[in-house]
């Protein structure tokens, strides 16, 4: 990867992190959902950097074109939704914070290792970079070949969700 590409990647990572933080901490629910859009976009670009072009496209179509729009719809169709204060008492924060820290541990450990190796001049753990290669064929063959059963299982699940939604929305 060239230096410019690395700088652009870091910029997008910062954008993703900043928007993810805004999603969590913004008191305005509309701004939170728009930050979610940019977080999804950042993740899509990271997929591109990892060489997963098809996954990046899916990320944009499903999460920006589908999920974000649905969230925005839900917000705009709910009366007085933007006046809701999204603050909770401090005491309720302790357990989620502990859980989040537990999830972060591997990353913190790796980061510390990396930092230590920088300081001690040892070889850092290798960050894998992928050369760009088209993955669409491989994804298609995997979904309809080796993983056909789970794929079909998910389609049945989605069909069930669809039928359920129609049943809920039927005229009484």
């Amino acid at each position: 990867m060239s230096e410019t590409a690395k700088i652009i990647l870091v910029l997008f990572q910062l954008l993703t992190l900043a928007s993810a933080l805004l999603v969590t901490f913004s008191p305005n629910i509309l701004y939170a959902s728009i930050s979610l859009l940019f977080a999804f976009l950042g993740v899509a670009i990271m997929f591109l950097y990892a060489g997963a072009d098809f996954l990046a496209g899916v990320q944009v179509v499903v999460y920006i074109g589908g999920v974000t729009i649905l969230v925005l719809f839900a917000i705009m169709l709910t009366s007085w939704m933007y006046q809701v204060k999204l603050r909770d008492s401090r005491g309720k924060l302790i357990v989620p914070l502990l859980l989040a820290l537990f999830g972060l541990l591997p990353f913190l450990y790796q980061g510390a290792q990396h930092l230590a190796s920088r300081v001690l001049r040892t070889v850092p753990p290798d960050f894998q970079t992928f050369a760009y290669s088209p993955k669409t064929n491989a994804v298609g063959e995997a979904l309809l070949g080796n993983y056909l059963l789970p794929f079909e299982g998910i389609t049945v699940l989605l069909l069930g969700a669809l039928v359920g939604a129609v049943w809920l929305a039927r005229p009484k």
Binding site: T4, L30, I34, L37, D53, F54, G57, V58, V60, V61, I64, G65, G66, T68, I69, L72, F73, M76, L77, P134, T136
Partner: protein
């Protein structure tokens, strides 16, 4: 030539400079050479056509035949007062028109103007166009909400619902082509449509996809209807229905922000027409003629220009049909719009998909033209 090699040659001609500057410049070049002039000229053509349909003269004051009208319009829009209504959400109000323009113009990167002239022939070409143009829907929705106006909000909600719904028949009508070609790469999809009588290796090429089989013919029409709805054009212009909602989602926008919405809409129309041309109408190919196998060898530059001309003729004819429909058909109601999508287009698109699959299985992947002229299957 794609943008990457163009950036490299720009770097070579000027003797240096960082590559990313030239790469960014050549990307902007696509927008400034195609999207902006097309958007401007399309407004002129649309007004002239409206005048013809209504037995008027139309713009005729600025330049010969009023040809420079769009430049005057642009100057007016840019020099207008930068106005943000009281109570508007300033950040989103500024952001929303940009999202629409970015979503529409980013798709220009993969348009196959000619075999030798293409922004980037990426592997997930069609999917890229489908995914990047989803940015338009949040742009319309946020613009409508942020202008703090009930008409705007109603228009925006309609627009987003319409775009999200019609994405499904559009995607389902693109799938038959993907099934026939076995790739998402737009360049190679166009390449496979270059069948001409007497061409060598005829098994690898079928004629235009629209004539591949009867189901594809229907699918191309569905794609056109769905694209019309996704670009919010009449008869599907419910988001800005001026007889009900003043001007819908862009009621509160004026000056260049309104101009950006208009530019985004025209860019979307161009992209939609170009996609139908590339997927179904054979892209840059001249029917029944293979430029590469002529008895004289044409220089590459000349072939690129001829192919560009062919592609433009097909695309602009579709744009003309879009404008023609605008002055011909009345607007649908909201329930009619949704009913047509979910009860009409989606089942029909599924039938097309299944029918194409059956055709591929029965005739071993051969197109109608190959069957008529007796080409062996591949």
């Amino acid at each position: 030539m794609d943008t990457a090699s163009f950036a490299h040659s720009l770097q070579g001609w000027t003797g240096g400079g960082p590559l990313w500057v030239w790469a960014a410049l050549s990307a902007f070049l696509i927008i400034y050479l195609i999207a902006l002039p097309f958007g401007g000229f399309a407004t002129y053509v649309e007004r002239k056509l409206a005048a013809d349909f209504q037995d008027r003269i139309g713009p005729n004051r600025v330049g010969p035949y009023g040809l420079l009208q769009f430049i005057a319009d642009a100057v007016k829009m840019i020099s207008k007062e930068d106005f943000i209504p009281a109570g508007a959400d300033r950040f989103l109000y500024n952001l929303a028109p940009l999202m629409v323009v970015v979503g529409a113009c980013a798709a220009f990167a993969v348009l196959p103007l000619s075999r030798y002239l293409m922004g980037a022939d990426v592997n997930i070409g069609i999917f890229y166009v489908l995914s990047i143009s989803t940015l338009v829907a949040p742009g319309i929705l946020l613009g409508s909400w942020s202008s703090n106006n009930k008409w705007s909000l109603l228009g925006g909600l309609r627009g987003a619902a319409q775009i999200v719904s019609y994405e499904i028949p559009v995607a389902l009508s693109i799938l038959p082509v993907v099934m026939i070609s076995g790739t998402l790469q737009i360049g190679s999809i166009v390449e496979q449509q270059g069948w001409a009588p007497g061409a060598e290796n005829a098994a690898a090429y079928h004629f235009w996809n629209v004539f591949h089989n009867p189901f594809c013919f229907v699918a191309s029409i569905l794609l056109f209807i769905g694209g019309l709805a996704e670009t919010n054009r009449i008869p599907f212009d419910l988001p800005e229905a001026e007889s009900e909602l003043v001007s819908g989602f862009n009621t509160e926008f004026s000056g260049m922000r309104f101009g950006l919405y208009a530019l985004g809409e025209f860019a979307e129309i161009f992209v939609m027409s170009a996609m139908i041309t590339a997927l179904y109408l054979g892209g840059w190919h001249i029917p029944f003629l293979n430029l590469e196998s002529l008895f004289i060898k044409l220089p590459t530059g000349l072939m690129a220009i001829i192919q560009l001309g062919m592609f433009s003729i097909k695309t602009l004819s579709l744009v003309f049909v879009v404008m023609w429909l605008r002055w011909t058909l009345p607007r649908l109601r909201v329930d009619q719009l949704m009913g047509m999508c979910w009860k009409g287009l989606v089942p029909l698109a599924l039938v097309n998909l299944f029918g194409t699959a059956v055709w591929m299985w029965v005739f071993n992947g051969r197109s109608l033209a190959q069957l008529i002229f007796g080409v062996a299957g591949h």
